[in-house]
Amino acid sequence: MPAPLLVPALVAVAFLVLPLAGLLIRAPWSGLGKALSGSDATQALVLSVWTASVSTAISLVIGTPLAWVLARTSFPGQRLLRALVTLPLVLPPVVGGVALLLAFSRVGLVGRYLDYWFGLTIPFTPLAVVMAETFVAMPFLIITVEGALRSADQGFEEAAATLGARRMTVFRRVTVPMIAPSLGAGAVLCWARALGEFGATITFAGSFPGQTETMPIAVYYALENDPNAAIALSLVLLLVSVVVLVSLRDRWLRRGPVL
């Protein structure tokens, strides 16, 4: 291996691995249980897991059809639409939070009518957390599924259609099973991104234990208060991430590349 490639590669590895090592070394292993129970950790974890799961479910239900529209149809402005839809991927999440606030806050574009007509205030509720997470995470599912749809062999769908299957039947019985691994991978990516969401959530949903204080926000505040609890909470998130990664690897290894 040539040194000009090997040395920077090793630097990159060290850079990526050292912080994780730091987390593991500094972890208060003996007092881990105490550190976790001493904070609002369980509440935050439960909130994070269910909001991320709901966000993923919403993304699957509305994001998969959108991926199909982007991959299988063509119409004027489609490129622009794709750019708009994937914008949250590159947009700083805080900006997404500000945008959500301007649309859905009590004095926002849409929010004022929700408040006026239904007395519904979205910010500071778990619903706001779900919305922030969906906004940031759904594009991960969309691009994963769209990529799979584009690379899938359309011959099967055409065969089904020539045999008399309606378009919805083709979608349900042929397309979805064919891209199932990518749906799974996209959902896992989406879930992981939603679980880690911080910027849009704290901006749009605020922070209150049990209501809107998700794991990443709890970690951030715990660092000011009780660094050991912050490290313990971070370990939990690290563990979840490793599980996510392993589940993805498994799919990739068994079914071949899907991304």
Binding site: L101, S105, R106, F124, G206, S207, F208, N225
Partner: protein, 261 residues
Amino acid sequence: MRRFAVIAAGLAVVAMAGCSSSGSPSSSSTNTPSKSAATGTITVFAASSLMGSFTKLGQQFDAAHPGDTVKFSFGPSSGLATEITSGAPADVFASASPKNMATVVSAGDASNPQDFAKNIAEIAVPPSNPGHVASVTDLAKSSVKVALCQPQVPCGKVAAEVFKNAGITVKPVTLQPDVKSTLSQVELGNVDAGVVYVTDVLAAGAKVKGIVIPASDNASTLYPIAAISKGNNLSIAQQFVAYVLSPAGQQVLTAAGFEKP
């Protein structure tokens, strides 16, 4: 595949840029410490309630000390204290609570803090006062949406003390990271009320309306300041501390609504 790699690289760059701009309050000041006194730049870590008055003090100090530059990192005192004890490049720490200063002093990062100001709490409501808040007891109503600071942040502690004095229990809808973000929630009209400092209501001008808390219920916090001993420009740091305590400095603080300690 190559195109994908290019896109991925682009995403990585954007993501890094995003991280650096949305990081902790001190991220703008994490430059390498220079030992030369010639540059004369100090970084002051100050409670976010000091944003307006310290920015002005910094400009006056810069004008009075040609060649010296004061940079600021504003944030919650509790967070700033954590940053300083973990080695953030601060030269001066101005805290909104003696407790957070004590954290820094006991870590050996500062000594001899001096109180330079006092601040009392006030309720801020949007100009139209949608929650019809007239007194501190109105904050206990379930129909009134209240924003408070996190309990470990000085403004959160002061608010808790006010509620204790008034004998009420307030269930806020959000606990904000610092006093300025609590004020923003009021300014944006997201909440009906927020408990902030007198100085914040004054600085916000017409954007919020202040509801004065009676002295019998009110609570205050002291602001200590100290030079950070491992800072790279101790003499300028000490000069800045002296300037804050000087009549000129005190005048700026009084004009902003702070009381004498």
